[in-house]
Symmetry: C2
Subunit: 409 residues, 2 copies
């Protein structure tokens, strides 16, 4: 008999999805908007019935505390985020929060009292849409971004995160304040995979081994515009042809029989963009991901080498856009997830997170793990994001097992 | 001692370039605008001093007639266009008109009277910028485009070519009307090369053997958007990767050791254009040119084959945008240009026109030739278009030789 209540967990996702509903099955609940505040208020109403103690830190991270037998021990944390993409789904982030709540509620119902307190965390502005950077709340918590800098971020209308957060805190009224950077014994985050691997492998539980590193680059090629009819190939400085040659070499560079390296050219544009003019300029982006820092660095060098070697008779400039170091989760924590899944009859799949998560910053602070469940077709950041109700429940069951173990340590 | 007046020819280019001058060395004198009318009025003022008889046909092609000893014989025609690109140069088209005028003026000064009349033609709307299609005047003259269709063309403000032409005819007042489609004995058009070949080969005169065929295609690839971080390569339908594979195959298809085939991808765009999203859609254009129709048709088939063969797991659609048949000029006419150039001390270079010209439509009506002179760096359709004064003169000398011969036949 399952510990958690699958029906309640499903219904809470539906209830939260009505706040900021787009009318096309999706949700728009950007960080620190009125919708985000309403979503947190609904969560607080559920939490108050369980007697959870609510606190917010100076960047708006929300903590819901269930005390343990030894209230002064470092708490075990679980959670994720409630903010969404502009055309986001019902599960990205939300699941990690509601699965945590479900575990706490089922513990209450069954009289489970743990040694350590358990805190459900709702991180501020994970999506980084209204205010940059992404994972703002967990980055500030971990000291990776300064509080003043984050609060000074402005949205497209010029409103600061500081003012938006003050409005939310005022609206939520009774929530107590907590200092920045409180410590946790361990952190476990449940999340939808946002990729197709679990579904394709017909697995219900992913034991996340880490978050791959990410580097992004902008490549700009400069050649010379020329008349497409009158200029022989031998006399052209065709920026498109040079870019194509560079791309071919890049594809060879990133070849990887293991399928680990992720290489995407997502933006590519030739200018001036007239069918009968040889392009004088091409700009494209590279999104490169790999769990191994050394490999990322060798590939970065390879990109630079290829761009300087293959550009002639054009010239190429490489500009780094983003550099996010790979994270490996604590092996003992990953093993806890695997073992709990097996006990519950789910053969787990080791999986590396392609997307980043708040767990990335927690991994530097305490033993950290993530639990993935499948999402339909691997689709996420999309209004058609969908999951199976039994997968929501299975992930919550695994989370309950892991949290109980950690909270007894 | 040269027949023509190099200084006068140069100064007339400078004088015309003041009408519609952009202030950056270029000219904006779009067809049937007030600037175009002013340019034609200046030409008419020069022509009237020579006693040339001006007539306009119903599409606005302007004819300036110098009578011969036998006024009823079919006239020899020379000319080009006075309209420019929005950021055009001083020589594209203008040179063919002013070189013709210079020949007629020098004949007058030296008392040269030919058997046949010679007519200087100024074709309407060669550039096709304000009103489409390009080479509108010569296309209507040749019956390739219906008069009513051309007159019904509207500019970006909704003004019809008919109304714009009526305004020009009213402004030019005294010019007589001529019926559409009058016949010529032969047609010779002088033009800047608009490409780099003559300059690179250090030749002054190009004997144009024809105008290559042109086909344009739009290629649209449909794949599937996916998260760049979470989606392994094996599960992607990456429209950019498919497009890149197609481009690689196209480059092999069009390989041509002779340098004759012109292949340009001028527009290329990946959508949605986010660095961390696998592109679900790519659109690009192909501009393909070759003098041989059979080769164009084989390459067209090759493009279709490659797009259907290489697109998987995406799909590709090929849409023809433009099909302009290759034109070969009358070999005897080309030989006249070569022979005249040699007599004047210029070893001619056989050259195929990469761009289209009004001569394309004349070639279907009467023996036709073109004379090319170099332009600096091959640059044209550009405000920095530049030529050497002695090249303007050399081309006019060759034109004078050819016109005198033809007019004596």
């Amino acid at each position: 008999m399952p510990l958690t209540n699958a029906q309640r967990l499903w219904e809470r996702h539906e209830a939260l999805a009505r706040i900021g509903a787009t009318g096309r099955g999706g949700v728009c609940r950007l960080a620190l908007t009125a919708e985000d505040t309403a979503g947190r208020a609904l969560l607080l109403s559920w939490a108050s019935r369980l007697g959870l103690i609510a606190e917010m830190d100076p960047i708006g991270n929300l903590f819901l505390r269930r005390i343990g037998r030894e209230p002064d021990t470092a708490p075990v944390w679980t959670g994720s985020h409630l903010d969404t993409q502009p055309t986001g789904g019902k599960y990205d982030g939300i699941y990690g929060v509601l699965a945590g709540l479900e575990v706490l509620e089922s513990f209450a119902e069954r009289g489970v009292v743990t040694r350590r307190p358990i805190e459900l965390v709702v991180w501020t502005d994970e999506e980084g849409v209204r205010f940059q950077p992404t994972t703002m709340g967990s980055a500030v918590h971990a000291g990776a971004v300064r509080l003043e800098e984050a609060l000074g971020a402005r949205d497209a209308d010029g409103v600061t995160a500081e003012d938006a957060l003050a409005a939310q805190m005022a609206a939520l009224g009774g929530v107590a304040r907590r200092r920045l950077g409180s410590a946790a014994h361990a952190y476990v985050e449940a999340h939808i995979e946002q990729g197709p691997v679990l579904e394709a492998e017909r697995r219900v539980i992913g034991a996340v081994t880490g978050i791959q590193g990410l580097r992004q680059f902008a490549i700009a090629l400069a050649g010379e515009e020329a008349h497409a009819g009158t200029t022989p190939a031998s006399r052209r400085k065709d920026a498109f042809v040079a870019a194509h040659r560079i791309v071919a070499a890049l594809h060879r560079l990133v070849e990887d029989a293991t399928g680990t390296t992720r290489f995407t050219i997502g933006r590519f544009q030739a200018a001036p963009g007239s069918p009968n003019t040889v392009p004088g300029r091409v700009e494209f982006t590279i999104d490169l991901r790999h769990p191994d820092l050394g490999r990322l660095e060798r590939l970065t060098q390879g990109i630079a080498d290829i761009c300087s070697r293959e550009a002639a008779p054009c010239t190429a400039a490489v500009t780094p856009l983003l550099d996010s170091t790979p994270v490996a989760f604590d092996p003992a924590m990953v093993e806890r997830v695997r073992a709990a899944a097996r006990r519950l009859g789910h053969e787990p799949l080791d999986i590396l997170s392609g997307a980043t998560h708040d767990a990335k910053f927690m991994a530097g602070l305490c033993p950290t793990a993530m639990i993935f469940i499948p999402c339909r077709g691997g689709v996420s950041h999309n209004e058609s994001e969908a999951v199976e109700p039994e997968h929501l429940a299975a992930g919550a069951e695994v989370l309950a097992e892991v949290l109980r173990e950690l909270a007894e340590e």
